[in-house]
């Protein structure tokens, strides 16, 4: 049976979690569900790059994929809704790099859409400015995008020709001479003077790609622009400025967790935060785990003693299972929050 790209991705994820979570954890991961369980699993099983890759995948579609793969015995149900992928030689391909180089769902999922909306509008507007044509309909209709664009144009303080040339140069440099990028995937979506971009499905059809493959490669280019613009602002000043008004650090966190983070930075203790935010203790604990997963210099000593941290790390290394209850059994003095936090901090799977 030939597998679709989406199925290969699902298979890959199932292989990584080794039946320690239900199949729906993979669904939530690909959908980008922002619960602490999903976020933590994403990191624990080293699947964070897959986060939010297929936000429009429906539960029904997902279940159909699972059923199909089960019928073909590509996956086997171990216990209720827990599937494992039996090891077979010819599936090694599945384990290789199945994502294009730049795709990093967890890091960029919040910006991909915004980057596309902004860059497509910017290119269209510059194209018309450059051709001195004012009569056209903006392809993006959201009011806040128009407000943003106006600000962007004013702040760039460049002539229309320079701006057009500048954006061209930066996109050219960013996308060319890179074996992991096929720029046409991106460029045929752009709209300009007398030339309307293609929809995603038209583009896929034209390039003879399946929709899911096209989607991932398009995403790859957006993530590539985000990464390169972020790393070398001096090389890509115009692209870099597309996203500079977005708060990068805290946007690695969910909005609620970033609020908690700010309170922690001000020196508030867990219980104080719980009271002042009127949230359950457990919720704040979830936030702290999320922070530990994402902010590398975050210290957890105030929540778990160094001794306990050591015990937990050792226990997790000895045990093959990542199920918390097994770790708990060997370090009974630690509670679940402490175990989760230590695993998160140390990136242990």
């Amino acid at each position: 049976m030939s597998l679709s790209y989406t199925e290969i991705v699902i298979l890959h994820c199932l292989q990584r979690i080794e039946g320690q979570r239900t199949v729906y954890s993979v669904f939530h991961l690909l959908n980008g569900k922002k619960t602490s369980q999903t976020i933590q699993d994403a990191h624990l099983f080293h699947l964070s790059a897959f986060f939010h890759l297929f936000p429009s995948l429906t539960r029904k579609e997902f279940t159909d994929y699972i059923k199909r793969m089960e019928n073909e015995q590509l996956i086997i149900q171990k216990e209720d809704l827990h599937f494992v992928v039996p090891k077979r030689d010819h599936w090694k391909a599945v384990d290789a790099n199945i994502l294009p180089k730049y795709v990093d769902g967890w890091r960029y999922h919040r910006y991909s859409r915004m980057l596309w909306e902004r860059i497509s509008l910017l290119v269209q507007v510059i194209s018309h400015l450059n051709k001195q044509n004012q009569k056209y309909l903006p392809i993006q209709t959201k009011k806040e995008l128009h407000v943003w664009l106006k600000k962007y144009l004013v702040q760039s303080k460049m002539s229309r020709e320079d701006l057009a040339q500048g954006i061209y140069n930066e996109l050219y440099t960013c996308l060319s001479h890179d074996d992991d990028i096929n720029p046409v995937i991106f460029v045929i979506r752009l709209t300009g003077f007398n030339k309307i971009g293609l929809t995603a499905s038209q583009a896929a059809e034209k390039l003879k790609m399946e929709n899911d493959v096209y989607h991932i490669h398009f995403l790859n280019i957006l993530h590539c622009i985000l990464q390169k613009a972020d790393e070398s602002p001096e090389k890509f000043p115009l692209l870099n400025r597309l996203m500079t008004d977005v708060d990068k650090l805290t946007s690695l966190l969910t909005i609620s967790a970033s609020r908690t983070y700010r309170l922690i930075q001000k020196g508030f203790a867990l219980d104080e935060i719980s009271i002042s935010r009127n949230l359950k203790r457990g919720t704040i604990e979830d936030h702290i785990v999320e922070i530990a997963l994402n902010i590398s210099d975050f210290k957890i000593d105030q929540y778990v003693s160094q001794l306990k941290q050591q015990l937990i790390v050792e226990a997790s290394k000895k045990l093959t299972s990542k199920q918390l209850k097994h770790i708990r059994q060997s370090v009974p003095e630690a509670d679940y929050f402490e175990i989760r936090l230590v695993l998160a901090k140390n990136g242990i799977r």
Binding site: V123, I126, S127, N130, K131, Q134, K135, Y136, L137, I139, Q140, T141, K143, A164, Q165, I167, Y168, L171, Y172, L175, S176, P183, V184, F186, V187, I188, L190, T191, G192, F193, N194, K195, I196, G197, L198, T199, A200, Q202
Partner: protein, 496 residues
């Protein structure tokens, strides 16, 4: 003076029939009713006076998509002082806009919004140069698109101090026109009635036996007739399926367009069609409102329309450049069942009303605040959006006149009557399809018009040579198909 403005703002050098007369009438301060056929630039009739008069122009428009298109048209002309006041705006946006109403020249507003006291209060503060009712036939029960909200426009107009008024419509029978004048209570308006006839659009009906024959016929036509064109369907699913089929048949660049497609893609498809990147659009009636494409060469109806009025609106999107164009209607035996089903679906069924009365007996507190129970009512009684709107309108009137839930029994009669009207309209289309002599004459009769001009290539009974609508087979479509990404990017961004 008027020509100068026309050139300066719109870049046209001459008026189309009816525009100059309408505008001149308004400029001399007379209330005006203008009936101009689709595709002849109705919106210019208020846009131009807007620039020549001091004060704001309020345009009441029944359809959100239409309103959005008109706003965009104005924006394309570089007009920034324009706003669409409808349920699309968020609460904050609405509030902000309400307090800055005087900053806008053109204020589009949906009839629902005019029911809100605060809105009226703010509109009253404005200096209103012109009050426009677009698609004015919606006022009349006899109009094919009756909106109960429109009935209150007379009241609204009065509370705004009876401003200078323009009623615009494309298709109105005599009865409808009388209704418009009466409910708006405008005395002695100037009337400019232009023929609904579009002599450059040839009318053809193909009657076949089975659904499958229609598909074959459609493909047969699309292989030879000159595009671009629109094929209308009654359902999203059919529009999608047929678009895929036509693509497979190699009939060029084809896309489906309907309400289920997301905003960004809808915009792209519309624009691709406008810029000649698409040959055929497979659409539901969601497509076409306010589409300003001049060179549409054919419109095909794959399903039977529900009224002659909407049919004329839709075929009127062809041939706006005045060039010869073709309207084809495909009919298979029994096709009239579909519009009847659709009509029934739009109305509330007797059982549904009985059920609602029972439910209200169990929950009497709901009667006075029906809006709070929207989701419940819709899911439990299986209502469509249209159903709910009808119910709400009826309920409003009933509550205002102090009636109780049992007044819903009256709604049954209302529904039966409306179904009769709809059946009657479908019957007229049915008869027109089966008519054996001039189709154009028959349409004009329906709109109480005399036929003034003779047309060659009039309609199938009069004789029509399809060769005149064919594309030149030696002309191969040459689309600029740049696939080299660098050149493509340069073309968009830096080439002059």
């Amino acid at each position: 003076m008027m020509e100068k403005m026309l050139r300066k703002i719109f870049g046209h050098s001459t008026f189309r029939p009816g525009q100059r007369e309408t505008i001149a009438s308004l400029m001399s301060g007379e209330h005006t009713i203008s009936m101009l056929p689709t595709g002849t630039g109705k919106s210019l009739c208020y846009q131009l006076p807007g620039y020549m008069l001091n004060g704001s122009v309020i345009i009441v428009s029944p359809l959100l998509s239409l309103m959005q298109d008109q706003v965009e048209q104005l924006m394309m002309l570089g007009e920034k002082k324009v706003i669409a006041f409808n349920s699309f705006l968020s609460y904050e946006e609405k509030n902000r806009a309400l307090h800055q109403l005087h900053d806008y020249k053109f204020i589009f507003i949906s009839p629902e919004m005019l029911k809100v006291d605060l809105v009226i209060k703010n509109l009253k503060r404005l200096d209103i140069a012109l009050f426009v009712i677009d698609e004015a036939h919606c006022i009349s029960q006899w109009g094919y698109d009756f909106r109960p909200d429109y009935l209150k426009l007379g009241e609204v107009r009065e509370s705004l101090g009876n401003p200078l008024t323009l009623a615009l419509t494309a298709t109105a029978t005599h009865k409808v026109k009388i209704d418009i004048i009466e409910s708006l209570s405008i005395s002695h308006p100037n009337e400019f009635i232009y023929s609904v006839d579009r002599p450059n659009i040839a009318l053809k009906v193909d009657r076949v036996e089975h659904h499958k024959d229609k598909v074959d016929k459609l493909i047969e036509y699309l292989r030879v007739v000159k595009g671009p064109g629109i094929v209308y369907f009654s359902s999203k699913k059919m529009a999608e399926q047929m678009a895929a089929l036509l693509k497979k048949e190699g009939l060029g660049e084809v896309m489906a367009y309907h309400g289920g497609i997301d905003q960004e893609n809808r915009k792209l498809i519309q624009q691709q069609f406008l810029y000649g990147q698409l040959d055929i659009i497979c659409a539901t009636s969601a497509f076409g409102m306010g589409i300003n494409k001049n060179n549409i060469r054919f419109v095909v109806h794959f399903h039977m329309p529900m009224q002659l009025e909407s049919y004329l609106q839709e075929i009127g999107r062809a041939g706006r450049d005045g060039e010869r164009s073709l309207a084809i209607l495909l009919y298979a035996n029994g096709d009239e069942q579909l519009p009847i089903q659709l009509a029934e679906g739009e109305l509330l069924h007797e059982n549904q009303i009985d059920w609602m009365i029972k439910w209200l007996e169990a929950n009497p507190e709901a009667w006075n605040k029906l809006n709070d129970y929207e989701t419940e009512m819709i899911t439990l009684a299986g209502l469509t959006e249209t159903n709910w709107r009808i119910l709400k309108d009826f309920h409003q009137v009933a509550v205002d006149s102090g009636k109780d839930m049992y007044s819903l029994h009256e709604l049954k009669d209302v529904m039966l009557k409306q179904m009769d009207v709809k059946r009657h309209k479908i019957k007229i289309v049915y008869d027109w399809i089966h008519f054996q002599s001039c189709r154009r004459k028959k349409i004009l009769q329906y709109f109480d018009e005399e036929q003034k001009i003779r047309v060659d290539n009039c309609c199938d009974p009069c004789g029509l040579s399809i060769e005149d609508f064919m594309r030149n087979p030696t002309m191969v479509k040459n689309r600029n198909e740049e696939t080299d990404w660098q050149r493509l990017l340069a073309e968009i961004l830096i080439n002059k």
